[in-house]
């Protein structure tokens, strides 16, 4: 009866504690033997693919097993939402699989708790230089490679072509700068009809495109202090606040009880939203006539945030070389080309970009272009903690109960003190 209500915020720290104790106990013997494995081996792999990805993955596994006799890949499919607590519980009881597909923000958490194999010690070889730098960045913790990227994405600007036409705008020309964005937003907004130029979310990850187009740095150069409350950070976030409060072109999608951006976009309530490759299929299924453009340019040009999934090898793995070979296969030019062309996703291998079928996936061209200027989120073990601190402060600024400068100052002070352990 006691944990009928799944309280993630309380559960995760408990699991981490258990996982940390288990990891500390298990790492006494130093590194595992990483010599050549012989004989038939089975690699256990926990993954979180959707149905389309899963179907393609099944084909790839079959081919991999055919070309690697003696290797069997045994997969378990998990709901994305439950993967983290399941992995942490398994970690605490030393029953982790050999490989898992995890969110990029989870890699530093696992790595700093000594749960992952240091891939540099096994030798990922030349594949690293072929990988997209921003995708690879989420795999590195303190300069050490703890994962190989498997999927990368970031936000772009999605716009409703019907609403553009109705407002007398060219449906093939999305705004290129923030000034154009505001001007078009005003034309698109019709408060009486309940239509707004923009619908947005309020969380740190969803706000990075603003910060990044203004050249605001989250951390200082040596990564010891948060400096987001500098002039660029304030200016960037002031723009986000102004879209709602001053220009009134944002429909309040971020508020509790507000119409969420993706739903409002489908209902024709918001003419523009930020979204990524994952939304394309949903919008096409809903028969929305939409276009995708780059995030509007700020003082330092266009830019976006980075999300995605990485493949990690746990320390419990007895056959790390075989596991790494499989990771390398998944990040290879061939697999990434097939993955991108079948599913319309951004490849993590740069070499795959020249094989992309933009005729079949017209939006993919924009996504790939956008990723060239993407900036990864800060590599901090407790990334979630940054969200927990930033989001209420940003909300206060959007509500108008705090000035932008004060909200960012307060957030930065707490991050420095509570997350980075830096003195005030």
């Amino acid at each position: 009866m006691n944990f009928s209500k799944f309280d993630r915020s309380r559960l995760i720290p408990v699991l981490f504690l258990c996982a940390a104790i288990a990891a500390a106990l298990s790492c006494g013997g130093g590194q595992k033997e990483t010599g050549e494995e012989t004989g038939p081996v089975t690699l256990t792999y926990w993954q979180t693919y959707n149905d389309d990805e899963n179907a393609l993955f099944a084909e790839l596994i079959e081919e991999y097993q055919a070309t690697h006799p003696g290797v069997t890949i045994q997969t378990t499919r998990l709901p994305f939402m439950g993967a983290e607590p399941k992995i942490l519980t398994a970690l605490a009881t030393r029953t982790t699989p050999d490989i898992a597909r995890v969110d990029g923000s989870f890699v530093p958490k696992l790595a700093t708790r000594n749960a992952l194999m240091n891939l540099d010690e096994i030798g990922p070889g030349d594949i690293k230089q072929d990988l997209h730098p921003v995708a690879l960045s989420s795999c590195l913790v303190g300069g050490v490679t703890y994962a190989l990227p498997e999927q990368v994405n970031g936000l772009c600007l999605f716009y409703n072509k019907d609403l553009f036409r109705r407002a007398g705008l060219d449906p093939e020309v999305p705004p290129e700068t923030w000034d154009e964005f505001i001007a078009m937003g005003k034309k698109l907004t019709d408060q009486e009809a309940g239509v707004f130029g923009f619908g947005m979310r309020n969380s740190l990850w969803w706000t990075f495109p603003f910060f990044n187009t203004y050249g605001a740095h989250f951390l200082n150069e040596d990564g010891t202090r948060c400096v987001l409350n500098g002039p660029q950070g304030v200016e960037a976030f002031q723009l986000k606040v102004d879209l709602y409060r001053k220009y009134k072109i944002e429909g309040g999608g971020w508020r509790a009880g507000g119409v969420r951006d993706d739903m409002g976009f489908q209902n024709g309530k918001y003419a523009m939203i930020f979204s990524g490759p994952w939304a394309v299929k949903t919008l096409q299924a809903a028969e929305i006539d939409f276009g995708v453009g780059l995030i509007p340019r700020g003082p330092v040009g266009t830019s976006t945030n980075v999300g995605g999934n990485d493949l990690v090898i746990f320390r419990s793995c007895q056959i790390p070389r075989a596991a790494l070979e499989f990771l390398t296969f998944m990040a290879s030019e061939q697999v990434q080309t097939r993955w991108a062309n079948r599913l319309g996703q951004i490849p993590v291998n740069i070499r795959a970009e020249k094989h992309l079928d933009f005729g079949k996936h017209p939006y993919l061209k924009v996504f790939v272009e956008q990723m060239k200027t993407a900036i990864p989120r800060p590599s901090i073990a407790d990334y979630d903690e940054l969200e927990n601190i930033m989001n209420p402060e940003m909300q206060a600024a959007l509500d108008g109960t705090k000035s932008v400068q004060k909200a960012l100052d307060d957030a930065v002070r707490r991050i420095n003190r509570e997350v980075l352990g830096a003195a005030d």
Binding site: M1, N2, F3, S4, F6, D7, R10, L11, V14, L15, C18, W46, T48, Y49, N50, D51, N54, T76, R77, L78, P79, F80, M81, G82, P85, K86, T89, A90, A92, T93, T95, M263, Q266, N267, W278, A279, K281, T282, A285, A286, E287
Partner: protein, 304 residues
């Protein structure tokens, strides 16, 4: 009595003027009653509003589950062309029939066994005398103060060591000793007169017969309550079922629903159909046991 007074008050009020001496007090009583009615009306209005707020998400879930896929986010209250296809697809094409069966097996067996064990233990604690009874009960009660999530890792370690991973037993076994249920039942069973048990013993009933033919029938409200609560807990339990299974064929409805939700952002109508299916057993169970359930929840509470 109140009703009669109210009726008289209204009659006198209607005839005021003819019996002048009574006008004044009956007027005040009439005014008092209309105030009472007003309060009742306000109460009902607020209850109706509360019911609408609570029930609307369920209504929205069902109406969305009946919509055509393209209309998933339309704000229409009722679908243009209602369809049951979403239910068919989620059950047949996405494995929900299997998840549903798994959930039924796990929730029913766990609820039955947990209730049985709690009833047996509660009978002993309520009606038997044994050494350290009070201390043992307090010790068990103290375990309620430990957050459930603290048990999860050790329980998982035990289940894993016993080689029970990927079995129904792994989902059911760790939750069969239910201290909350024991407490609920003990409080209830203490209200059964011991003389009743003694007289049946004098008539030659064995301990098991006393339990089966006297204690269980008299405790039916609390048994039904505990069964329902345990069933509901196991039916909705997501994390434990996910942790102890690595095979899709053993996933229960909450795990299947979470996986479906994450994997199919675009299939909103199907998600709603899956969610609608997931509440059916709880709805049916509560519908048939609600009288016993309310009795069971309140009776234990007022025991002196």
């Amino acid at each position: 009595m109140t009703k009669g007074a109210g009726g008289t008050g209204r009659r006198i009020k209607a005839g005021q003027g003819t019996r002048k001496t009574y006008t004044s007090p009956s007027k005040s009583r009439g005014a008092h009653l209309s105030g009472r009615h007003l309060r009742a009306m306000l109460l009902y209005i607020s209850l109706i509003l509360g019911a609408v707020v609570v029930l609307f998400p369920f209504f929205w879930m069902i109406t969305t589950a009946l919509k055509q896929p393209g209309q998933a986010y339309s704000l229409q209250l009722l679908p243009d062309r209602p369809t049951l296809d979403n239910f068919r697809r989620i059950l047949a094409d996405y494995g929900f029939a299997r998840y549903f069966l798994n959930s039924i097996i796990v929730a029913t067996s766990a609820a039955f066994l947990a209730t049985l064990f709690a009833a047996l233990a509660a009978y002993a604690f309520a009606k038997k005398r044994f050494l350290f009874k009070r201390q043992l009960f307090l010790f068990l009660l103290a375990s309620l103060m430990i957050p459930g999530m603290m048990y999860m890792v050790p329980q998982f370690a035990i289940v894993s060591q016993l080689g029970l991973m990927n079995t129904y037993a792994a989902m059911v076994l760790p939750h069969l000793a239910n201290v909350f249920g024991l407490f609920l039942m003990k409080q209830f069973m203490e209200s059964i007169p011991s003389s009743l048990l003694d007289s049946s013993r004098i008539d030659g009933a064995s301990e098991l017969q006393v339990f089966r033919h006297i204690v269980v029938p008299l405790s039916l409200p609390v048994i039904a309550t505990l069964f329902l609560l345990t069933f509901q807990f196991h039916w909705g339990n997501f994390l434990w079922q996910l942790i102890v299974t690595n095979k899709e064929s053993l996933y229960t409805v909450p795990v299947g629903l979470a996986m479906f939700r994450d994997a199919h952002e675009e299939l909103v109508t199907l998600k709603m159909a899956g969610a609608a299916i997931s509440i059916i057993p709880i709805g049916i169970l509560f519908f048939f046991t609600q009288r016993l359930f309310i009795e069971g929840m309140t009776k234990g509470a007022v025991k002196g």
